[in-house]
């Protein structure tokens, strides 16, 4: 499967999940920087089945807080760091499931449990298909590694 097709599915899945479940809209695309964000939250999970690999999401701190507050419907209080991490894990899980089912709806995949990772380790990676975009309150980058990718 060409990288461009995977990248388009990645962006479509990420946008759909953000808009439908996290009430955040993609307002524009951004280049995936090789440099990690100065202050960011990241989550990663592995998957197996028809294709094996891993998925990760990285958000600037502002974007992570906004996404978590929207998901939790916190109108007055800031979500705690633990709540932000839990929600970013959910976000990674939903985005990964959504992109894999877009890539092959008839296949079987098993998703692992998302783990919070050091977002500083998530920069542009030539082994991954990645996209980054602006959600107004910060930037989100998504990464997909698939075994056997040409």
């Amino acid at each position: 499967m060409p990288d461009l097709e995977v990248a388009e599915s990645l962006l479509a899945a990420a946008s759909d999940v953000l808009e439908t479940m996290f009430f955040s809209s993609v307002v524009g695309e951004a280049p995936v920087s090789a440099e990690p964000f100065a202050s960011a939250v990241g989550a990663r999970l592995e998957f197996s089945g028809a294709r094996a690999g891993a998925f990760a999401v990285r958000l600037t701190e502002d974007a992570a807080r906004t996404v978590a507050a929207n998901f939790l419907a916190e109108e007055t209080d800031e979500p705690s760091p633990a709540q932000v991490q839990e929600v970013i894990g959910e976000l990674a899980n939903m985005m990964c499931g959504s992109v894999l089912s877009r890539l092959d709806r008839g296949a079987h995949f098993d998703l692992g449990t998302p783990v919070i990772v050091d977002a500083a380790a998530l920069g542009a990676d030539p082994e991954a298909v990645s996209r980054a975009f602006d959600i107004g309150d910060g930037e989100v980058a998504v990464f997909l590694w698939m075994d056997g990718r040409p």
């Binding site: 759909d16 999940v17 808009e19 439908t20 479940m21 998901f71 939790l72 419907a73 709540q83 839990e86 929600v87 894990g89 959910e90 899980n93 939903m94 990964c96 499931g97 959504s98 894999l100 089912s101 092959d104 709806r105 008839g106 296949a107 079987h108 995949f109 998703l111 449990t113």
Partner: protein, 128 residues
Amino acid sequence: MAYRVMIVDDSPSMRAFVRRVMDLSGFAVDSCLTAGNGAQGLALLEQQTVDIILTDINMPEMNGEEFLRRLEEHERYRSIPVVVISTDATENRMQRMMQLGARGYIAKPFSPEALRGELERVLGVSNA
């Protein structure tokens, strides 16, 4: 009519989100029980009955597949309709969960309207 609902998911934020989306959709909830996995869900059913169960698949201790099997084995619980809520939108997974006894399946991400539509379809609610 308002319904007695049980939400089974290991994520507290996801349980709260599903409850909120049910309210946003206009689905009438009389009471809402929550459980962190299938075993907790079964324990709650020993004390209270519900009209519909919404369950995740991947959960610690007792996952959604085992929870469905246990419900199907139990004479009193097998009539309770179960809707699976999952990130897995593949046909294989949907068919597997339906074979295990689920009556409905909704893949994340979902809109409030989609959730209400699936719950009402499973409950046989007529919008006519």
